[in-house]
Symmetry: C2
Subunit: 153 residues, 2 copies
């Protein structure tokens, strides 16, 4: 399961992506619009800043903005940053590889093979989906949901 923290991070980043031309955005604004607990969000944004995803300005008229092009920030990137490995077991993770505790022989572990498939399929999706893709997707979804079904037929 994706943690709430990671989900909030994605929501906040997508909000900032949509507000890209609006200059700096304040925490309270993001918190309110995306329904994220204010203080919790603060910590998340600091984390994203530390990881070079966000840029911030302190003081009056301060706020947050993206530090990179949304086409360069992948969903996989953010999830790994907040939640750690995408892989369901440590021995199939690329970026966080670790031997499984009870594992006797990695070379003959069947579970490892299935889980590697899962991690590869997951990474293939999340590492090729960028904030910009999701922004475009949102626009399409909104158009679709504006069109009442009756009119589409």
């Amino acid at each position: 399961m994706l943690s709430k923290k990671a989900k909030y991070a994605l929501k906040a980043l997508l909000y900032l992506t949509r507000q890209q031309n609006a200059g700096l955005v304040i925490i309270s604004d993001i918190a309110e619009k995306e329904r994220i607990p204010r203080k919790f969000l603060e910590a998340i944004l600091v984390d994203l800043k530390t990881n070079g995803i966000l840029h911030s300005v302190r003081g009056k008229k301060g706020g947050y903005s993206l530090a990179k092009d949304p086409a360069e920030i992948s969903v996989g990137n953010i999830i790994r940053m907040i939640d750690g490995p995408l892989a369901p077991i440590p021995c199939v993770s690329h970026q966080y590889y670790r031997k499984c505790d009870e594992c006797m022989d990695e070379a003959t572990c069947e579970i490892r093979i299935v889980m590697k498939k899962v991690r590869d399929a997951t990474a293939a999706i999340l590492d090729t989906t960028f904030l910009s893709d999701l922004e475009a997707l949102k626009a399409i979804l909104q158009e679709e949901s504006d069109q009442p079904i009756d009119f589409q037929i």
Copy 2:
């Protein structure tokens, strides 16, 4: 991440699959061979029994055996049984669907779309991989690892 509990369940089931013609197998045997804490394994096996995966006999000469054909027990089945949904967020789960807490409109949620892809890819793998497949796979992996590389050329 897959819990240790689910991993132990899979290991135990795969062990029982390999011992299928050996009659009943006792907990201590599984625990020892698969390096699973004995008492923890007990609870897991009871769980699997309750879910109709295992058959057991009490008393002297008792033990456990599979209650079904290994070709009918999928990995997805077991993981759902122990860990719950495969889906990374509740709103894309088929068997455990729930609305996300902060979600304002499911129809326009971009995160939902990516996560649905992940859940579908994961389910496609885990729901079509059965204990029998993994047993066959193990045999192949063992042969390969028995063959020193030098002799294969």
